[in-house]
Symmetry: C2
Subunit: 403 residues, 2 copies
């Protein structure tokens, strides 16, 4: 019974989260209202495309309700620097524009923030571990083609067209540089589908922006307004939250640094298994020789491809290379917008059969960018871009074989 004296119950009025969807129990909830939940590490390891049900959720507010039968008439208004506006319904975007499919990782700027807290010091923000990242196939129309249709010159957008601002039904907003928005190889989409299904409510139904290679905070969900402007979006998420200061900069002069857009390289270990003892050979016949199998991901923004993943079983003293899983047959788009999953098997360091050690992973992309070694060196109060080498302490005596 939702009515009380003929009016809705007070708590229903005051709780905009009442219509939030039911979430999969496997998601690791950080907060309930708004919903912030990371993908469990096992699921990250298990598939190149993260299933919709366990794709990480990063909401800044409630989930706006749009019914499926309202989707085609849902409108997005585009405003150009001259003040002119043009409103497109999703029905029109689906029928009049070419549809594109792109596979791309989305990653929160706070992914692995908990590592920065543990290895450096306290950070302000959701304490994500390795699961504020996921990968999906997105389908929709190209933003650049919609902007051109609305009247923007792609060859010469003009001095007044520096940023493209997005806002969503629930009031979240952010922007991207015009160069990203109109890059013919940038693959920026207004997306209606996620892994061959309509967008789930948590991921922006009926339409969200996808900016491949950029921080997920720019991929505005439930988008209903797009403004081409000489300024960045005026929201706190654009001008304040998503920036990194130096390790010593406790006073944050927000105008000093640029908003996070293209993401730097990162990697993580998502699963560690102690295998049965390796086959006893003449060279190495100690019964305590044990083999460990590590799995994980590596990702770099800007369409840069991961080309090498280095793994250390001894805390970073010595290195070996992981095998990169070839998922090329699943990749779609103009650049490499996805992660590489990787697997590594190796014997635990000699003489450490029962001793503690630390597993480490670091990756290198095709521009030979690599990760910083310590969180201390990239520490920032907000704990953004915690991309240092990922370390997992390992204590064999506390682990069973096969898991």
């Amino acid at each position: 019974d939702d009515l009380h004296d003929g009016r809705p119950l007070q708590d229903h009025i005051e709780d905009p989260f009442v219509s939030d969807p039911v979430r999969d129990s496997r998601l690791r909830k950080m907060t309930e209202k708004p919903c912030n939940a990371e993908t469990p590490a096992d699921e990250l390891a298990d598939s190149f495309l993260t299933p919709n049900d366990v794709f990480y959720v990063r909401n800044h507010m409630w989930v706006p309700v749009v019914e499926h039968n309202e989707a085609d008439s849902y409108g997005i208004t585009v405003e150009l620097p001259d003040g002119g506006t043009r409103t497109y319904t999703i029905g029109e975007l689906k029928s009049r524009f070419k549809q594109y499919a792109v596979t791309a990782v989305l990653q929160c700027s706070g992914n692995r923030r908990n590592d920065m807290t543990r290895y450096a010091k306290k950070t302000n923000g959701l304490q994500w571990t390795v699961g504020a990242i996921s990968c999906a196939k997105w389908e929709g129309v190209r933003l650049r083609e919609v902007l051109a249709d609305a009247g923007l010159s792609l060859s010469d957008p003009g001095e007044d067209a520096q940023h493209v601002q997005f806002s969503g039904l629930e009031a979240y907003g952010a922007s991207i540089p015009i160069t990203s928005a109109i890059d013919p190889r940038g693959d920026v989409l207004l997306a209606f589908k996620m892994n061959d299904e309509p967008l789930p409510p948590d991921h922006g139904f009926p339409v969200r922006v996808i900016v491949p290679g950029h921080v997920a905070a720019r991929c505005v969900k439930w988008v209903n307004k797009i403004i081409v402007s000489d300024e960045e979006s005026n929201t706190t998420w654009q001008r304040k939250d998503y920036k990194c200061f130096g390790p010593n900069e406790t006073k944050q002069d927000w105008d000093k640094y640029k908003s996070i857009q293209v993401m730097p390289i990162t990697s993580a270990i998502t699963r560690t298994r102690l295998k049965k003892p390796a086959a006893v050979t003449e060279q190495d016949n100690k019964p305590e020789t044990r083999v460990v199998q590590l799995e994980g991901y590596a990702y770099s923004g800007g369409g840069r491809e991961i080309q090498r993943v280095d793994v250390s079983l001894d805390g970073g003293e010595t290195w070996d290379q992981a095998r990169l899983i070839d998922d090329a047959n699943l990749e779609l788009g103009s650049k490499t917008w996805c992660w590489k999953r990787w697997v590594y098997e190796g014997a635990l360091p000699k003489g450490r059969g029962d001793a503690k050690t630390t597993f480490v992973v670091k990756a290198t992309d095709d521009a030979y960018n690599t990760q910083p070694e310590t969180h201390k060196s990239i520490y920032n109060l907000r704990g953004n871009l915690a991309t240092a080498w990922h370390r997992v302490d390992f204590n064999p005596s506390r682990m069973e074989n096969g898991k």
Copy 2:
């Protein structure tokens, strides 16, 4: 007397370097034949655009001789995947095509290799310190417009057009991906001028390729042949030398990794001056308080802009930010292809007035890429991309004030 019995002296015949230009004595010579010489650190600090005379020289062979009166009739042959060729004289390129000016850093993949040797272990290659990098203004025609004129479709180059190969008069050769070659914002030039003068012989007179944001090894000098192909250039400089393996990979499987193209972020301290003691204040009236001034550069490839330079006077324990010098009025081009010079002044760590310490610099670009902490972690046999934090040991007792 160059003749002996009516023929050139034998050593002149056998020495292709005999016509190499006389070089400025300030250049720090690594090898004479071929000439490899780095820009002195003081000159790097002194100007945004490196003067031609002290621009670092990295030659793989001798300097081909082209007389100034031959320049206009000098030909460059362009070959497309269908086998068709078209030869352009420089005279035609100058008269028929739009001329562009771009400012860009060139940097050898071996810049700072000597640091990797000192801090990790032996590397094979020229032991450059911080001076295998310079910045200049380049003028010429856009490669993409020449390729289009020769018949290549820029909107759909086709599957056979994956790489653009360059070769020079002296036999050096290299290639870049087609996407870099035809990127409308890539600013790839066939350049005739350097800092408002004709290219000096050491830098490719009468024409060289400039690929901003990429390793200088792709910026082929004395270029006379351009081939659009489905393959990379077949030279050792393309397929072997310019790659980075993992720290453990002593056996180099050349096909395993990609050729270096877009450069990762780096930085260096180019000048250290001990200033007079800081003004004595009530808070800090120890006479031994001394102020040090550091200068340097920071650079990232791919058109990414440096946005923060962190300096430590205590070996990386604590950090402060350098002041970035604003040279924006000198910058030309579609992206940020240049370095940022920086200056830092700070008091030597308390209680270390006369003790040794280590100055450290690291930089962050606008995609929040940063440098690795140690050369050990990025060690490779060839000593390529030695981009770790730059460290300079400082011993105040061995330094005079003001220098």
